[in-house]
């Protein structure tokens, strides 16, 4: 037990000493990691905002299916129940002819004479869908248009929906590519730092191996160095993120209030925690890769 503790103490001590001896490289790797993680965080925030926008605007873009006056009410109810079960569909509302008329009268107050002249209610009843995922709208619209016995016509703000969906897809793809690239850069920088550390201590490593140190005793300090670099870089990034959030977010919200920018505290907190974890993982993996490659113990 005490031997294990001794080993742990030695490994930690050696890691800290190694980082200090190699401090210029260490600092460079920490800064690179921090920059990559801040960018990652900014990107995740932007992506999240875009997703929110897509969802929010998607909710507003309802599908309206106008019901034929001669359609059987029981059939309409059946269809509505079916629609409620569909993925991507948020809410299904039935608007009666009377409701439609009232809405029309409220909205076009100065033209209500038109209706008075007609004497009968010319407005159809309708089924309105509020969507969770606007991407399923086009297919749904086609399906409803096929039910000619029930629906007169189907109105979809298709162009807006399609554009939103494509923006969201592009942003997601670009985001993923960027995250992959940045992670690769951070991995490379950390792996390289550890490689140099291994090289600088090759004499020590050789002797340790020859006198019977275990693999993990030799590798441990390097892995911890990488993890430490990742952790410190990530902590810097998280601090920067919180500061930016406190300073910048209120201004943005004030200037462009219609944007559903992710500014709530829990989002930022989760993002900060996520970033710290990413830093730790990237640092550990980067150094592990380097140790595996350059430390033939």
């Amino acid at each position: 037990m005490t031997a294990k503790l001794n080993v742990l103490r030695y490994v930690l001590g050696a890691a800290m000493l190694g980082l200090w001896r190699n401090r210029t490289m260490t600092l460079g790797a920490v800064v690179t990691t921090a920059v990559m993680l801040v960018t990652l965080a900014a990107f995740l925030a932007i992506n999240d905002t875009l997703n929110e926008m897509v969802t929010a605007l998607g909710r507003k873009s309802n599908l309206i299916a106008y019901v034929r006056d001669d359609a059987r009410p029981s059939r309409v109810t059946e269809i509505m129940q079916d629609l409620e079960q569909r993925p991507g569909v948020g809410e299904v509302v039935f608007v009666t002819k009377e409701d439609a008329l009232r809405i029309f009268q409220e909205r076009f107050f100065d033209q209500r004479d038109v209706i008075d002249i007609l004497q009968a209610n010319p407005l159809p009843a309708s089924v309105e869908l509020r969507m969770d995922d606007p991407a399923v709208l086009p297919a749904l619209a086609d399906e409803l248009r096929g039910m000619t016995g029930v629906f007169e016509s189907v109105a979809v703000p298709l162009d807006v929906v399609e554009r939103l969906v494509s923006i969201s897809n592009v942003s997601r793809a670009a985001g993923t590519a960027m995250i992959v690239a940045l992670t690769a850069v951070a991995l490379f920088v950390i792996a390289n730092t550890i490689r140099i550390a291994v090289y600088a201590r090759r004499q020590e490593i050789e002797i340790m191996k020859l006198v019977g140190a275990t693999d993990w005793f030799v590798r441990g300090p390097f892995i911890i160095e990488g993890a430490f670099i990742g952790l410190v870089g990530a902590t810097l990034a998280a601090v920067a993120l919180v500061v930016m959030y406190l300073q910048v977010a209120p201004t943005i919200t004030r200037l462009i209030s219609f944007l559903p920018i992710a500014t709530d505290v829990s989002f930022v907190r989760n993002l900060a925690v996520f970033i710290v974890l990413v830093g730790l993982v990237v640092g550990s993996i980067g150094s592990y890769v380097s140790v595996r490659r350059y430390l033939a113990v």
Partner: protein, 226 residues
């Protein structure tokens, strides 16, 4: 006890370092390993602490076939076999005492009890009063004695030395040999590869001569040239 059975080793560049070598060294023996440069002496020593593996044959150290042990078991073997090199292999940034302690720290064995082992090892090599010096402040002989202290601090039953006097002058070489003889007398098996004709001829111990990767002579009480 060290046993080699039909050991052959060819390096990737085609050099046949060892060719069907068999030999046996008993516990507490003191053996000189002689032969021209490139004869295979260093390869033989490296086989014993599994610093390299043979292409064929078996190497037994204390009844364990070290050619068959897993990577994880190598440290255990090396903790039983102390090695001394011609170039000392000391860590320049550490003092004499720290260099010796380094072995114990590397294996997590350094504590109050084993720090006494460091004192004893330093006393045996007569470096107690230079314990806080760094290698660059020491003479060659003192550096080699530091390396010997490091090799014996864990009280290894086996000590192998690869040309330990190769960089030392005449008098210092003799000091080093006297030290190895004392360590042998204290119970360790000692295998020493050397080019030092005078020492081998004077000591009259068992001599194993290797040439072109083969054992050409194995003689008790032999001289350098047989």
């Amino acid at each position: 006890m060290i046993v080699l059975q039909n050991v052959s080793k060819v390096y990737p560049n085609g050099t046949r370092a060892l060719d069907d070598v068999s030999l046996q060294i008993e516990e507490r023996e003191f053996v000189f390993l002689v032969g021209p440069s490139g004869a295979g002496k260093t390869t033989l020593i490296r086989l014993i602490n599994r610093d390299t593996s043979p292409d064929s044959g078996n190497v037994f150290v204390e009844n364990t076939d070290v050619t068959r042990i897993s990577r994880r078991e190598i440290p255990k073997l090396r903790r039983r076999v102390g090695v001394i090199y011609q170039d000392y292999k000391l860590l320049p940034g550490l003092s004499v005492r720290q260099n010796v302690e380094f072995v114990l720290k590397s294996t997590g064995e350094f504590n109050g009890r084993t720090s006494k082992w460091v004192d004893e090892a330093l006393a045996l090599v007569q470096l107690s009063d230079r314990a806080d010096h760094h290698p660059h402040e020491l003479s060659g002989g003192e550096q080699q004695r530091t390396a010997i202290a490091r090799a014996i601090v864990r009280r290894c039953p086996i000590l192998v030395a690869d040309e330990p006097t190769g960089n030392l002058d005449h008098a210092t070489s003799w000091d080093t040999i006297q030290l190895l003889v004392r360590i042998n007398a204290l119970g360790a098996t000692v295998l020493m590869a050397t080019h030092n004709r005078e020492i081998v001829d004077t000591m009259r111990r068992r001599v194993i001569e290797i040439a072109n990767g083969k054992v050409v002579r194995d003689e008790l009480g032999g001289g350098y040239d047989g």
